[in-house]
Amino acid sequence: MSKILKVEGLTKHFPGRKHSLFGKRDIVQAVDGLNFEVETGEAIGLVGESGCGKSTTGRLITRLLEPTSGSIEFNGKDITHLSNAQMRPIRADLQIIFQDPYASLNPRHTVGTIVASPFRIGGIEPEGGTKKRVQELLEIVGLNPEHYNRYPHEFSGGQRQRIGIARALALRPKLIVADEPVSALDVSIQAQVINLLKDLQKQFDIAFIFIAHDLAVVRHFAQRVAVMYLGNIVEIADRDTLYSNPKHPYTKALLSAVPEVDPDAIGSRERIRLTGDVPNPINPPSGCRFRTRCWKAQEICASNPPELIQIGMSQVACHFPE
């Protein structure tokens, strides 16, 4: 299989507050040295808690943000520092679906205009005309093609998310970054959208980077899962390995914190309760960033940051993996 995306040492540091006139500026280390690859047509999940850098990663890959260092290779081409104009032809293959279906659609544009915008911006005339193609797209995502002339406010949250998906599909991309595509939706609608994305992925052989905080949702979508903590990837493994045999203590804790729906299963599960909150990314802990909340932490964890290494079927960044 060929690689559609290769990320090496990807880092994003945002400038923070300056405490005095001549003092040093704070640096928010949002993403710090990510390495991972995505195969053609593969769905990879990116999970972690808020502030772990998963959305920043999505925006770096789609080049909505400029990386501080590292490299992004998409479809065999280095796109790390391309200008907007240079990115334009590439965006046909690299699309994004946003979290908030209310903020990501222009309220003054009709659905037809919104879904047709990739054609307009890319200067592409689809076969059979734009209107026909847009109506096809609306049908693919399960909307009524006759709603072409309606405005976003006439649709519910789930339907709006479908509009966003149609827009992302318009140019038949090879990779879609889906940034929390279902977290703003009601449970019954969530399942509809997950099923839709899964069908589209299979039907059009699109690679997905599925960003989410909900481990159960990711399990139903991704074939491989990367767990992030405070700007680092702490574990990557294929889905079954990660969920049945988590190696990093953080992955283990995260899995055990998911509430169980079956009342009988609640007592039988091992519970790990992490104390405290995620530390501030302005001043992350030395060594392993998880050590301040880890029950296994020892001296080495404070002095040496662990590398992501292969252990069995998983890649883990931990001095004392399970």
């Binding site: 808020s50 009342p263 519970r271 995620v278």
Partner: protein, 341 residues
């Protein structure tokens, strides 16, 4: 044991330009001290409107509230706003979903916790301050002597939620309403807050109403579940009844549509088709019938008459509002729903 909270035939509607929004329609339930009731439903099902009505917070708005809300024998709905104000905080209290919006940005966290205590107790400011420190310590904020002087923006999301819990519990209320208390939080912090609420309930014997859309959170905390759809209760019973032997097609749909950590991840989720109805024009008959897969088994009754809330089997405490008869429900659950759970 007697029921500490009794809600009888509660209806709340809002007149708007487009018509009357019937947010809550003829709702009845009870709750004992030391127990937790989970009210579950999707957005717009009337969960939050119910909780605001119990706190008497619709008074002074355009909402029309009818029915009885008896807390410890006192009807909140019949009392004037000034009387309810004296009860709020002491008898019943609330924690909100968005702690950053619920806390005042201009006052320190300590000030805001002490305020409620000062209103209900004739004590000096220094005693109230001590109480604030004690409460912050109790909810697990490290270094409370120092942190009471912090402003809300200096707290993290989980800490703000803890501070709000401290504020709500400062006067030992007998009834606590938690409106989506963990929705805005990360899973690891959510687990901490759930544990905290459970410990505090044991300690103070508080009755808790937990409003949420997350069936996992309810399963871990509640004793009873009230399932709401379009302003009506459609299923009511113990956690085990409602989650293990659900009787309403909407409950089946919810349980089979949530992604889980167990089961076959390659199978597509059994989603509920369609979207929740608008509360201005609620579908006739059973409000769920346009989305229900089993309407054909009943016939025209589903769209013609509103089913009554009846015991699943005679005498049972497990109530359901559905036209399907008991044998049909059992058969569907066994053959079509069970395998997808």
């Amino acid at each position: 044991m007697s029921n500490f909270l009794e809600v009888k035939n509660l209806s709340v509607s809002f007149p708007t330009e487009d018509g009357v929004v019937r947010a809550v329609d003829n709702l009845s339930f009870t709750l004992e001290k030391g127990k937790t009731l989970g009210i579950v439903g999707e957005s717009g099902s009337g969960k939050s409107v119910t909780s605001l009505a119990i706190l008497g917070l619709h008074k002074g708005s355009s909402a029309e509230v009818s029915g009885q809300i008896l807390i410890d024998g006192q009807d909140i709905n019949a009392k004037p706003e000034t009387d309810v104000r004296l009860l709020r905080g002491k008898l019943m209290s609330m924690i909100f979903q968005d702690a950053l919006a619920a806390l005042h940005p201009y006052y320190t966290v300590g000030n805001q916790i002490a305020e409620a205590y000062l209103v209900h107790n004739k004590v000096s400011k220094s005693v109230a301050k001590k109480r604030a420190i004690e409460m912050l310590d109790r909810v697990g904020i490290p270094n409370p002597q120092k942190r009471i002087n912090d402003f809300p923006h200096q707290f993290s999301g989980g800490m703000r939620q803890r501070a709000m819990i401290a504020m709500a519990l400062s006067c030992n209320p007998s009834l606590l309403i938690a409106d989506e208390p963990t929705t805005a939080l990360d899973v690891t912090v959510q687990a901490q807050i759930i544990d905290l609420l459970r410990d505090l309930q044991k300690e103070f014997n508080t009755a808790i109403i937990l409003i949420t859309h997350d069936l996992g959170v309810v399963a871990e905390t509640a004793d009873d579940i009230l399932l709401m759809y379009a302003g009506k209760e459609i299923e009511y019973g113990t956690v085990r009844d409602v989650l293990q032997k659900p009787q309403h097609p909407y409950g089946w749909g919810l349980l089979t549509s949530i992604p889980r950590l167990t089961g076959d991840p390659n199978k597509s989720l059994a989603a509920i088709p369609g979207t929740p109805p608008s509360l201005i024009s609620v579908p006739s008959g059973c409000a769920f019938h346009p989305r229900c897969s089993y309407v054909s088994r009943v016939g025209t009754a589903c769209s013609a008459t509103i089913p009554e809330l009846l015991p699943v089997t005679s005498g049972a405490h497990h109530l359901v509002r559905c036209h399907l008869d008991a044998t049909a429900r059992e058969e569907i659950f066994k053959n079509q729903v069970g395998p997808n759970l």
